[in-house]
């Protein structure tokens, strides 16, 4: 049969209930107030109900909600959990810097994030794996790690309920939980339909939920990210991550080249571009008449990738208006022994945040010596080759119902493009306005 490709790495702990030791905690039956069928259906959690139809991706944010309940709620609850000592370390004490250079990679020295533990084996050649209830999953998380439920309010306005029974509507609740090994302040996990125990795989509905969250936060500095299995997801239970970083991500500043679409592809209003002059090749989807349209197109692409065993990462940016898709192959290379020892020694697992340009380093030496060149070198290993990328892109287009127009490509240069430095984000950045292209 097919050879199994695996790598060994130390998984990131995202919940205090994740380590094996947690199972030994004195918890009778299930008085532990978890998120499983035993506890959740009879629990009451705060509910944030998002608006069903966010005003069509407002071009400007002048009328942006001055009082943003979502942000206050998320940050306030997060701060509250900080005071309760639920996090494994104080992320605000982690040294962080912007690496001088054109793209401005952000490096963080975080010695507490990575455990000095025995690495576990991860299978990297199967992007879709069945849910395994024996392994850690989010139904085992204690409710104190949950901040609130995130549900569709069905109306024009969003609202917040301090507590509501979790059996709202006929679907399993979506919950927002803290990541106890945060990369940044406010790092949370969005777990759609937690009780349904979905494996880590994107579908239209879950992606749409994530887009709604980005829209609700209404800040270009609040991004969501997704890692497929094989692209450094730690837990095979459907989840997205999100946090605040008040600087533009390097990938958001990189140049892009619009891919002209035939008229058919225009009806959804989604535009697609290719990332230029960035170490990892990727696609950028933006616009869409509604969030739904954007979710349709992007999830179509993701579904193809996961069904064809191409690991990938997704970054949702710009309040849900822009989605970056990165097929990657680092884990496969690692399993095949094709990654240099030097890179392996940094122990950086290039997941969505690293690919986007926020790199968490474990060793001080790596941090002190971090440069744009070293970041580029690492990320370049993650990228699919040009030919492979083009191949995958063609399949993705097909799957997502996009047709590349046969119009003359605007530029002939691909990789030979002279690097055109992009203007660094303007001094005064108004909410909802990132300088790109």
């Amino acid at each position: 049969m097919e050879m199994k490709l695996t790598i060994k790495r130390v998984p990131t702990i995202v919940s205090n209930y994740q380590e094996e030791a947690a199972a030994e905690r004195p918890r009778g039956g299930c008085g532990k107030n978890c998120l499983g069928d035993c506890c959740l259906p009879v629990s009451e959690l705060p509910v944030y109900a998002f608006k069903a139809n966010p005003t069509k991706l407002p071009a400007s944010q002048e009328h942006a909600v001055p009082s943003n309940v979502f942000i206050d709620l998320l940050l306030g609850q997060w701060e509250d959990r900080m005071t309760q000592g639920l996090f494994r370390y104080d992320v605000t004490a982690c040294e962080t810097k912007v690496i001088p250079g054109n793209l401005g990679f952000v490096a963080q020295l975080n010695e507490g994030r990575h455990l000095k533990k025995r690495p576990t084996e991860f299978r990297v050649d199967r992007v879709l794996q069945p849910f395994d209830a024996a392994k850690f999953n989010f139904t085992k998380v204690g409710q104190e790690e949950v901040l609130f439920q995130f549900e569709n309010g069905g109306g024009d306005d969003s609202y917040f309920l301090k507590s509501a029974p979790t059996t709202v509507a006929d679907r399993a609740p979506n919950v927002v939980a803290i990541n106890v090994s945060p990369i940044e302040y406010g790092h949370v996990l969005l777990i759609p339909r937690v009780l349904d125990r979905l494996p880590q795989r994107i579908d239209q509905e879950s992606l749409l939920l994530a887009l709604h969250m980005a829209a609700e936060a209404a800040s270009p500095y609040f991004r969501l990210g997704y890692n497929s299995l094989g692209a450094f997801a730690t837990i095979n239970h459907l989840h997205f991550q999100a946090y605040y970083l008040t600087v533009p991500f390097p990938v958001e500043k990189a140049a892009t080249q619009r891919i002209p679409l035939a008229d058919d592809g225009m009806k959804s209003g989604v535009k697609v571009s290719k990332l230029m002059n960035y170490p990892v090749r990727g696609l950028v989807f933006e616009g869409g008449n509604t969030l739904n349209d954007l979710a349709d197109v992007v999830s179509g692409a993701c579904i193809w990738l996961q069904e064809n065993n191409v690991p990938y990462n997704v970054l949702i940016s710009d309040c849900g208006r822009k989605v970056f898709l990165f097929p990657q192959c680092y884990a496969e290379k690692q399993a095949l022994g094709e990654v240099s020892q030097e890179l392996l020694d940094t122990q950086v697992n290039p997941a969505v945040w690293e690919i986007s340009g926020h790199i968490v380093l474990k060793r001080r030496d790596d941090y002190e010596e971090a440069s744009e060149a070293s970041a580029w070198r690492l990320l370049a290993e993650v990228s699919l080759s040009e030919s492979r990328f083009e191949e995958v892109k063609a399949y993705i287009f097909d799957a997502a119902g996009l047709v590349q127009s046969l119009a003359e490509e605007e530029t002939g240069e691909a990789d030979d493009a002279i690097y055109t430095p992009v203007t660094v984000a303007p001094q005064a950045v108004t909410e909802g306005c990132l300088v790109l292209q």
Partner: protein
């Protein structure tokens, strides 16, 4: 009853007391009497810059009872062997209206010399910046353990003596007697002084803390009672020019936070306000210029609980967050019940100050509990913590240089 110290006549005493009670309410004297420690208040506006108040603790330290010193100038504590340079330093600080600390040799009422740490600080009128009083705190300095064979520091005037002494034989520091006989003509007077002074003493960190703490208590007391007469005082001339400007990106990020809060910087003298949100200005009625650079105590008044202030201070020192309820006062004197959350904010850029990852600021989030608020369903506590979170996020915003301050700093 006549005291040998010559207490001022009743009329004069009344005038001296008025120096205080005209500015602060009558209760201020009682309040000051409760404070431990040895300290004075002087009035630079009155002729001779007299002492207008002396604490109860003065007698045990100096032998002078308050009424012995009222109306007299504070130089009465100095004497023959008091280092002239130290005195000049104090005089200069008074002239320049700034705080000053110096170890100085003072004399008790019975003539015995003793070393004290003298902490002098001006009390400013918060609005027009004029100096209302000076406070002078005296903290006794214990003798340091004798050091053997260490070279003595001596004032240059004795250089000649030393040399001559060296010619004779190497005299250990401990023996002053040898020096005294070397030359007693015109140097005799200085020699005597030096004899009395002995080894100059150095105040310990503990002494300095004590002095500062006493000074702070005095300020708090003055402030609490100044409210009744509509006066705000502070320990620093409230002039924002002294505050390092925050970087524009930080200012911008902070500006988006709608809660009522200030940021203070513990590393600057008297922990001044370095940022105030618009909501805070609306809540309290002050303008930004009035409060930037001042310590938060301008919010306190007669009804502000001392215990609560103590609790806040304790938590600040331990770098812990706390939530308290206390009575604070708007500029117009109106009191309001304040739900106050204070929390340390770390800086992780590694570039601010000498100590990276240290607490960069403290955030003080205020909430007027007497007003009905609509937090869209959030509890007041979560709403406040939301402000803290937003400040943390803002402080972690990085400029290219990684500094939280404007480039010129």
């Amino acid at each position: 009853m006549e005291s040998s110290g010559g207490a001022p006549p009743a009329e004069e005493r009344r005038l001296l007391a008025a120096s205080l009670t005209a500015r602060y309410s009558d209760w201020v004297l009682e309040e000051l009497d409760e404070l431990p420690g040895s300290f004075l208040l002087t009035d630079p506006a009155m002729s001779g810059h007299p002492i207008v108040y002396a604490s109860r603790g003065l007698a045990s330290l100096t032998g002078y009872r308050p009424r012995d010193v009222l109306g007299r100038n504070a130089r009465l504590f100095q004497g023959a062997a008091t280092d002239r340079a130290a005195v000049a330093g104090v005089r200069d600080a008074v002239r320049c209206q700034r705080a000053h600390q110096v170890a100085i040799l003072n004399y008790r009422r019975d003539g015995a010399p003793h070393w004290v740490l003298l902490h002098v600080a001006p009390v400013f009128h918060a609005h027009d910046g004029r100096v209302l009083h000076f406070l002078a705190v005296q903290v006794p300095i214990a003798a340091a353990p004798r050091r053997r064979a260490a070279p003595c520091r001596r004032p240059p005037v004795f250089a000649a003596c030393r040399e001559e002494a060296r010619v004779e034989e190497e005299l250990p520091c401990a023996s002053h007697a040898g020096e005294a006989f070397v030359d007693i003509d015109k140097r005799g007077l200085e020699t005597t002084r030096w004899l009395e002074a002995g080894e100059p003493r150095v105040a310990s960190g503990c002494d300095k803390e004590k002095a500062l703490s006493t000074a702070n208590s005095i300020f708090s007391a003055l402030n609490r009672y100044s409210k009744l007469t509509g006066l705000v005082v502070c320990g620093k001339r409230c002039d924002s020019a002294g505050i390092p400007a925050l970087s524009s990106s930080l200012n911008l990020s902070l500006g988006r936070i709608k809660q009522s809060f200030v940021l203070t910087d513990r590393h600057l003298p008297d922990m001044p306000v370095v940022y105030a949100s618009d909501a805070f200005l609306s809540l309290t009625g002050y303008s930004r210029e009035e409060i930037l650079g001042c310590n938060c105590r301008f919010l306190n008044g007669p009804g502000t609980s001392l215990e609560v202030l103590e609790e806040i201070n304790r938590n600040i020192c331990c770098e812990q967050a706390c939530t308290v309820h206390l009575l604070n006062y708007r500029k117009d004197g109106l009191a309001f019940p304040d739900l106050l959350h204070v929390s340390p904010i770390r800086n992780a850029s590694g570039k601010v100050g000498l100590h990276p990852f240290q607490v960069a600021f403290h955030v003080w989030v205020h909430l007027d509990e007497s007003i009905k608020h609509d937090f869209n369903g959030l509890s007041p506590e979560v709403w406040q913590l939301g402000a803290v979170g937003a400040v943390r996020v803002a402080v972690r915003s990085l400029s290219a240089s990684g500094s939280l301050l404007r480039p010129s700093q």
